[in-house]
């Protein structure tokens, strides 16, 4: 019997949380932007080598400019976080350190993956230029549009939950 795990995606408005989930669950991408209101729930079963299958119940929370204002009741019982920011919009990562610190303080034992999304809109030189901002915190640079490293992101988080 598959074991359920609650995964919550957080981040600012329009960073591509919903697109990342759609890419992972349905392997689709659309340019149409529809703002998430409240919360949207999806699920996908994944198989980690040599272990019981996991059912990832993925909570897609509406974007907020300040994650400390999130409805904490939505975060109860979270098994893993994915913090998403938009590589092409500095406003979505200018408080990265403080926001990650907030998560670490309030949910100290919950595995968290930090991802810079929309890799297709920037180049390697840009990442190197901003090395100081990203490298200490970022786990993956991904693109929901191209599907690059999205599967890896969720699989690695699932592995951390076993």
């Amino acid at each position: 019997m598959s074991r359920p795990k609650k995964i919550v995606l957080i981040g600012h408005f329009g960073v591509g949380k919903t697109s990342l989930i759609r890419r992972f669950v349905e392997n689709t991408f659309t340019k149409d932007y529809k703002v998430t209101i409240g919360v949207h729930i999806s699920k996908k079963e994944i198989h980690i080598k040599g272990d019981t299958p996991l059912t990832l119940v993925i909570w897609d929370l509406e974007g907020l400019d300040d994650i400390t204002k999130m409805r904490t009741s939505y975060l109860l019982g979270t098994n893993g976080f994915i913090y998403v920011f938009d590589l092409s919009r500095p406003v979505t990562y200018e408080n990265l350190e403080a926001e990650l610190e907030y998560l670490k303080t309030n949910y100290p034992n919950t595995p968290t993956k930090v991802v810079g999304n929309k890799m297709d809109l920037v180049n390697k030189a840009f990442i190197e230029e901003n090395n100081g901002i990203f490298t200490p915190f970022v786990d993956y640079y991904v693109s929901a549009k191209l599907g690059s490293r999205v599967e890896t992101l969720f699989t690695k988080l699932a592995e951390a939950l076993i």
Binding site: K6, I41, R71
Partner: protein, 270 residues
Amino acid sequence: MTQDEKLKLIKDILLTDDRVFVSHIEQKIAKLEETINQKKALSVKVDPIINDKLDDFIKDIPATLGPTITETLKKEIKNSQDAVVEALFPIIGKMIKRYIQHEMKLLSERINHQLNNTFSFSWFFRKAKSKATGLSESDLILQEQSNTKIEQLIIIEKGSGVVLAEYSKTKMADEDMVAGMLTAIKSFVEDAFIKEDQNLQYIEYDLYHIHLQNFSSYYIAVVVSGAYNIIYKDKLENSILSFSTKHKIADVLNNKTALTLKLKDFFKNE
């Protein structure tokens, strides 16, 4: 000049114009005859070819024009959804109305039949039940008539919304998604009403009633179809409480298989 020659001369003088006119008419009739005969001759040869072509064309319509027509119709319907709804609404509305009228008539007949059975055992029983519960006799009859049924039961971990166990006679919905959304709705409502220790207890969805019964670390969502009134709610609450205590649910919360078996065993006849 003889008499005949004179007559001929007079005829020539008098009838010259008429002869020209007659000659014209003759030519026109000849042309007309020629056209008609030619067309008839032509049509004898050409008509079978045209007919064959037409037959082939009609036969090929589904293959050649079918997809285009279907696509065009789909597009038209998609682009004019409001117009389609507008056009169908009165027809569907009438059908639904007729169906409801028919069902109401049947229900009314059944209720009348029961009311007419005065002084029967069930009549006395109903009277006593009505007084004891405070529900009207008609409500009690309505409940007897409706087929209240448990469709799905889900034991859900509070906060996370993770499914701890699920049992359904007919698969209603994906339990993980339902559990997640119910938990999100519960969290939102319970946050919005600032008073502490209050819980969302009931959600109505289309023809279904979702009864929510809260415990300390989990809650049980029961999807019910049919009449859900205070008597049924009371009965259901008692069933869930006795299930929870009899099977010591708190002790097996981490064992999904065992919990699912217990749930199925307890509620299979409900």
